[in-house]
């Protein structure tokens, strides 16, 4: 595991790609979570659909 990590770190391109993927996955997940919580809070109102 340690060797694999070292190999990944030694490849600058792969390391950059994984870092960007990791950071943006966190960012998009946070946005999606915030959106989901808001949508759920609104739609849990029994008569939310009355506004159709």
């Amino acid at each position: 595991m340690n060797r694999l990590f070292k190999r990944i770190r030694s490849s600058k391109n792969l390391w950059l790609y994984l870092r960007v993927t990791y950071i943006f996955t966190l960012l998009f997940s946070a946005i999606a979570a915030k959106a989901l919580i808001t949508v759920m809070a609104v739609e849990s109102n029994p008569f939310f659909y009355a506004n159709f």
Binding site: Y17, L27, F28, A32, A35, L36, V42, A50
Partner: protein
Amino acid sequence: MRKMVLFLLGIITALITVELILRFIVLYPPQPVRKPIYFFPKGHSYHKVYMYEPNSKYLNIEAGYKRFWRNNVGIHGPEVNLADNTKLVFLAGSSYIEAYQVPIRKTAAAVFNRKLQEYNPQYSVFNLGASGHDPYMAYFRVKLFTQKYRKPDKVVLALEHLRTKWLSRHEQPLSFDLPDHFGENFPFSKARLIVEAICSRSSLASLCYNYAKRFKGNVVDDNTDNVGSEDDSEQVSVLPEGLKATLLQFQKDYGHDFMLVFFSQNELENKLLRDFCNTEGILFFNSAEISGSENRLKGVGHLNESGNYKLGEFIYESFIQAYPKQ
């Protein structure tokens, strides 16, 4: 340049990862493909409705975080048999009839359909209940599905309230003439078509779109009025004129093939409606037991599974009483 490409690749991978998490772990469905249809002429509160693609998925939060499916004609009801010899029963009403909160097989329409097919296999029930629809809009929904499929053999309108407040949203006196372009596709702008196409393919886009709508000041559509919550304590001393006119129009169009089911607990509303229907010769059935708190989600919301079962059973019993086998 290489860094830029890696950066973009990283963002795309992140987007795909979040999309997969939302779709397969969170189970948030993409927005179903839908067609906007002309419903009311411009100038009225609602001027279009959406028709959804058959078997599309949707999420409902009221009864917990649950995903449900629409049926073979894109509505939340039992599968519809469209064979020529089938007798179609249109069950119209509001969100109580649409019953988005329970699986299709447990909706009042499905219970009614099941029992009715045991009674006479030729019958098939169309669940035309729609969220936010008052009786006047229910009338146009019946017309819309008549135009799309064919004239129903029977029409059942099921109401849980008199809907005085909702009926007042429309221009008075109510007009029952079908507007120009009624039932035709409403043209979306190109930008809107692109948004719809992306949202129907991506859970993440669909979620972000639903979230973004909160900031626009309305919840679902550009052309809807916010009617607020359903008001259970709405006090009435007379029947709304709009309701009377709508019931008379139903009777004029369908005669003895139209019946009204009312399941409010309000004794005065029951009496007013019963007296009116008796005077006008409209088939009327009422039950005050269905909308009790034990039959509602969290005691105050829409009907739960038990409430839907009781309603379906009551509609069936009323139906065979109105139309006994000959």
